[in-house]
């Protein structure tokens, strides 16, 4: 749709970290426990309790910062963000304001027309999550809300992008890229539905060519990539309708409703809090020495971008295959384990993206739990390569491997699936087939060469698929023209 307006999008993403314990106390942060059982004086905000920073959170923040091309601040500060809400036990959230741990990063994305585009990352900072409210559902409790502080003090990274995206698709490309990176790094489990990766989108539009940004609306907590796209597109349309009708966009926070695909105003700019940020006097400035940053950099895994390029240049995969395999760290690892055992990257790629992925999707299981290991898969692929079985038979064998967990060779042996490469045996089959179809043989000889396919099919059928297709073709040609 050609619009009169240019869209401008900036994204704030909250990444919940996979540390064992909370950011400022030693409580476990396992999801789904009985309310208020994963708590202590610190995360309950009891009088006199004090926060102590979890070093693992800093390590994860540095990892994420390095992987997104940020500068890591040698000195950063925790600040208090003050506001009242029942799920916020201290009446303030410990976050970072001035001097966050990571600044000035970027990620490159592919736009709709396959062009590479750089999206700036303003900052990434560490903060604690709040608890949650559970509203009474029974008759007696309908006017009651319950506070569960298990999630309070869970470590988050908040990453704030520059307003560099110009469409919902670019926003999604950026989010997917960031999501891929934090999952790759192992700092986040990436589960959008459980809120491990939460996105707020700042959306504004402006007439093409206008320099100043339009008034923005902030879209809150949308829990799937699909809904984010939907929410942004709805918002663009809503703002365009406003401007078209001569109205103004007002600065506000809006909540997206995935049921209706629309959004409603949550609070206006006038109702916005004055958070009265100031440095948290309970925490000393965080000083990070260069050696630690260097050590973390050393230990970073190969990131999807680098992996994709390597799969293309070193393994000769197509850009498409390389992209798909590199997108999932475990899938890529499986693939890479197969390659040296077969010496055929393309074949491995086809099978990992094909049969393996299909089985995983159908069974909804993780690749790390797959009943066929890379070694077993390579065992099967090598039987294709040495002509023991055809690709078609291989799929049947694979199916059986997946069910039984047996090796390919054992199945091929037990089921007698070994390809027939004995030319006299194939000749005998062919002669039988020609004898049984004299009419077609005569037509072929009269020039109807299309019938070759018919004969190949008949021979393969007679061999129960085991005859070597190349040999069948060759011998058939000889016999029919003879």
């Amino acid at each position: 749709m050609a619009s009169k307006y240019e869209t401008v999008i900036g994204l704030e993403v909250h990444v919940q970290l996979t540390t064992d314990t909370k950011i400022f106390c030693g409580c476990s942060k396992v999801f789904g426990q009985e309310p208020n059982t994963q708590t202590c004086p610190v995360c309950l905000g009891l009088p006199g309790a004090l926060p102590v920073l979890n070093e693992k959170v800093v390590e994860f923040a540095i990892k994420t910062g390095l992987a997104t091309n940020c500068a890591i601040a040698p000195r950063s500060i925790f600040a208090r963000k003050n506001y009242f809400y029942p799920d916020l036990p201290k009446g303030y959230q410990i976050s970072q304001f001035e001097l966050p741990i990571c600044e000035h990063g970027w990620l490159d994305i592919l736009t709709e027309n396959e062009a590479e585009k750089r999206i700036g990352i303003t900052r990434i900072h560490m903060e604690e999550d709040a608890g949650k409210l559970v509203h009474g559902e029974t008759q007696e409790s309908s006017r009651t809300s319950f506070v569960d502080l298990n999630r309070a003090c869970t470590p988050l990274l908040e990453s704030v992008s520059e307003p560099d995206m110009r469409s919902a698709d670019e926003a999604i490309a950026y989010l997917k890229k960031l999501h891929q990176i934090v999952v790759y790094l192992g700092v986040c489990d990436g589960n959008l539905e459980e809120g491990s990766f939460r996105c707020d989108a700042n959306v504004s539009i402006r007439p093409w060519g206008q320099k100043e940004l339009g008034t923005r609306a902030e879209l809150k907590n949308i829990n799937s990539f699909r809904f984010i796209k939907q929410a942004i597109e709805y918002e663009i349309e809503r703002q365009a309708d406003l401007l078209d009708s001569g109205s103004q966009v007002v600065q506000e926070t809006r909540l997206f409703d995935s049921q209706t695909g629309t959004s409603r105003s949550m609070r206006s700019k006038e109702e916005a809090h004055d958070y009265r940020y100031f440095p948290d006097p309970d925490l000393v400035p965080l000083v990070i020495d260069k050696a630690w940053i260097a050590e973390i950099r050393e230990g970073l895994p190969e990131l999807p971008e680098a992996k994709r390029l390597r799969f293309e240049s070193e393994m000769g995969l197509s850009a498409y295959d390389a992209e798909i395999l590199a997108a999932d760290q475990a899938l890529a690892a499986f693939f890479e384990a197969c390659v040296p055992l077969t010496g055929d990257a393309k074949l491995c790629a086809n099978w990992v993206m094909g049969e393996i992925s299909r089985q995983l999707n159908e069974g909804n299981i993780a690749i790390t739990d797959a009943p066929v290991s890379p070694t077993r898969l390579a065992g099967l692929l090598n039987r294709i390569k040495d002509n023991t079985i055809s690709g078609k038979i291989a799929k049947n064998v694979f199916e059986k491997m997946w069910q039984s967990g047996q090796e390919a060779d054992a199945i091929i042996e037990a089921e007698g699936l070994k390809q027939v490469t004995d030319s006299s045996a194939i000749e005998a089959l062919i002669e039988e087939v020609i004898a049984a179809n004299p009419g077609q043989a005569a037509e072929y000889r009269a020039g109807k060469e299309k019938l070759m396919g018919f004969f190949v099919g008949q021979v393969m059928k007679a061999s129960k698929g085991k005859a070597n297709p190349g040999m069948v073709n060759q011998i058939l040609k000889d016999k029919l023209s003879g």
């Binding site: 004086p41 309950l44 905000g45 009891l46 009088p47 006199g48 309790a49 004090l50 926060p51 102590v52 920073l53 208090r80 003050n82 009242f84 029942p86 036990p89 201290k90 009446g91 303030y92 506070v147 004055d274 009265r276 940020y277 100031f278 006097p281 309970d282 925490l283 000393v284």
Partner: protein
């Protein structure tokens, strides 16, 4: 001599020699509290059962020859310290039903030694006040003259030592809250360097200034209590991991040649005549002891009180946000919405001085005012700290009055917050600088009220102010005077 009139050192010897049991001593103190506290009102909670149980445990430990310095010694603590299973009010109505579920680190350290905790002491609400009149539990009275204030905010901590209701006590000092009441009640009170003693479990007023301090009848006892509570605590990120020296070991060191600075900004017009006379006498005493006395300057002193009341109130406005009626403490029964619950609970639960400081601090942090107030105050703080750093290149200790006047009458300043705030002008700069200081008795006013002397030391050099104070104590008799109750 009555058991409750002994010093810690004397009592230690009697306990260790089995001349007396901790249970007997504890009973003596509980009786003393019962006999005197209707006049003083130092205690919010007396923990009789817990104290006697601790005394029994201490006696077993003494019998096994495993006693530490405080084993079996009756101590009382300001009601700002979390004490597991015991009411912990912080002097506020908003916590008048709050049973702490855990021990502050300093309480745990006392318990490790089987010290006997007699009870929880009255204080200005959330440690905000200089007279102990801002309490939800009726004012504390000065044992030297019960019409006078004991000082604040650790008024109960000072008054109970002066009234022989405890051997020693713990208080907290944010702008003078240990030293000023110690001076007004004629006892010794020490504010350690920021980071020396753990703040974990100490209910926060102004986190960057709060520090736990011991109060006792003399320097030696004060050193022993400090020894027990001082030291790094991994649960407090602002506590500092440097070794704690043996304070008692260096108390009697010679102070000949010690350089004592007299900051001219502390000897000002308006200083009470009696206070000036007593401090001048103390200066003469030090000269006789062989110390070198030199005039020095702390040029930014004038800005300290203003800076303090911005930083402390800003931090307090945030620290006190957790008293919202949601999880613990007072919740207004009448509220019919969330906002209503917040506002009514806080309106009913907080006293006027606390509300005033929350308002001040909220204002100082507000968008548009932050730079002019909070940030400016932080700059003042840096300048005040630099004043001390510079002057300590030249001298070992600073000597000043603790408060401009002796204890004032109850009710005199309660409606005049500015006058009240000025009673801390000599103590506040030390908190801003983060260094240590001690208040010790140095005389009496014509009206018979105690006067305190302040010795300020270099950061983490509590040992030097203790030995400097000890030398004075050895040369004078002030610390031996007792309030007649």
């Amino acid at each position: 001599m009555k058991l409750y009139d002994l010093t810690l050192t004397e009592l230690r010897a009697r306990l260790d020699n089995r001349e007396v049991s901790s249970v007997d001593v504890t009973r003596a103190f509980l009786d003393r509290i019962a006999a005197t506290d209707d006049k003083i009102n130092a205690f919010i909670t007396v923990c009789e059962a817990e104290a006697l149980a601790a005394a029994k445990a201490a006696d077993r430990r003494i019998a096994a020859n495993e006693a530490g310095a405080l084993t079996g010694i009756p101590i009382a603590v300001k009601d700002i310290f979390n004490t597991s299973g015991i009411l912990t009010t912080c002097g506020s109505k908003i916590l008048n039903n709050y049973i702490a579920p855990y021990d502050a680190t300093v309480i745990a350290r006392l318990k490790q030694q089987d010290a006997v905790i007699l009870g929880k002491l009255n204080m200005d609400e959330f440690a905000m006040g200089s007279s102990n009149e801002c309490t939800a539990f009726e004012p504390v009275h000065n044992p030297w003259n019960t019409d006078r204030v004991p000082g604040g905010s650790s008024g109960g901590s000072a008054a109970s030592v002066a009234a022989s209701q405890a051997i020693a006590t713990l208080g907290t000092d944010t702008g003078g809250s240990v030293r000023q009441p110690a001076a007004h009640c004629g006892v010794v009170g020490l504010k350690p360097t920021y980071g020396r003693v753990s703040r974990y479990g100490v209910i926060a007023y102004a986190s960057s200034l709060d520090q736990v301090g011991p109060l006792a009848r003399n320097i030696g006892d004060c050193a022993l209590l400090l020894q027990t509570v001082a030291g790094f605590d991994p649960a407090d990120s602002t506590s500092v991991d440097i070794p704690v020296p043996d304070y008692s070991a260096t108390l009697s060191e010679d102070i000949t040649g010690l350089r004592i600075g007299l900051p001219k900004e502390y000897f000002i017009e308006g200083l009470d005549d009696d206070v000036r006379r007593a401090v001048d006498q103390a200066i003469a005493t030090y000269r006789n002891l062989g110390a070198e006395l030199v005039e020095v300057s702390l040029p930014h002193t004038d800005y300290a009180v203003a800076g303090y009341y911005l930083i402390a109130t800003a931090e307090a406005s945030s620290n006190l946000a957790r008293y919202d009626g949601v999880r613990f403490g007072l919740r207004s029964a009448e509220s019919d919405s969330l906002i209503d619950m917040y506002t009514r609970s806080r309106a009913e639960g907080f006293g006027i001085e606390v509300k005033r400081r929350i308002m001040l601090g909220t204002y100082a942090l507000s968008s548009g005012y932050y730079d002019a107030y909070y940030l400016k105050a932080q700059k003042v703080r840096t300048l005040v700290r630099q004043d001390f750093t510079r002057v300590f290149e030249d001298v070992d200790v600073l000597l000043t009055p603790v408060a401009p006047t002796p204890a004032f009458p109850l009710g005199e300043k309660v409606d005049d917050p500015l006058q009240m705030y000025l009673s801390d002008i000599f103590t506040i700069p030390v908190n801003l600088a983060g260094t240590c200081a001690i208040s010790l008795p140095c005389g009496f006013s014509d009206g018979g009220l105690p006067i305190g002397l302040q010795l300020i030391g270099k950061p983490f050099d509590e040992a030097t102010i203790l030995k400097t104070g000890y030398a004075f104590e050895q040369a004078t008799e002030w610390h031996k005077k007792k309030a007649a109750l």
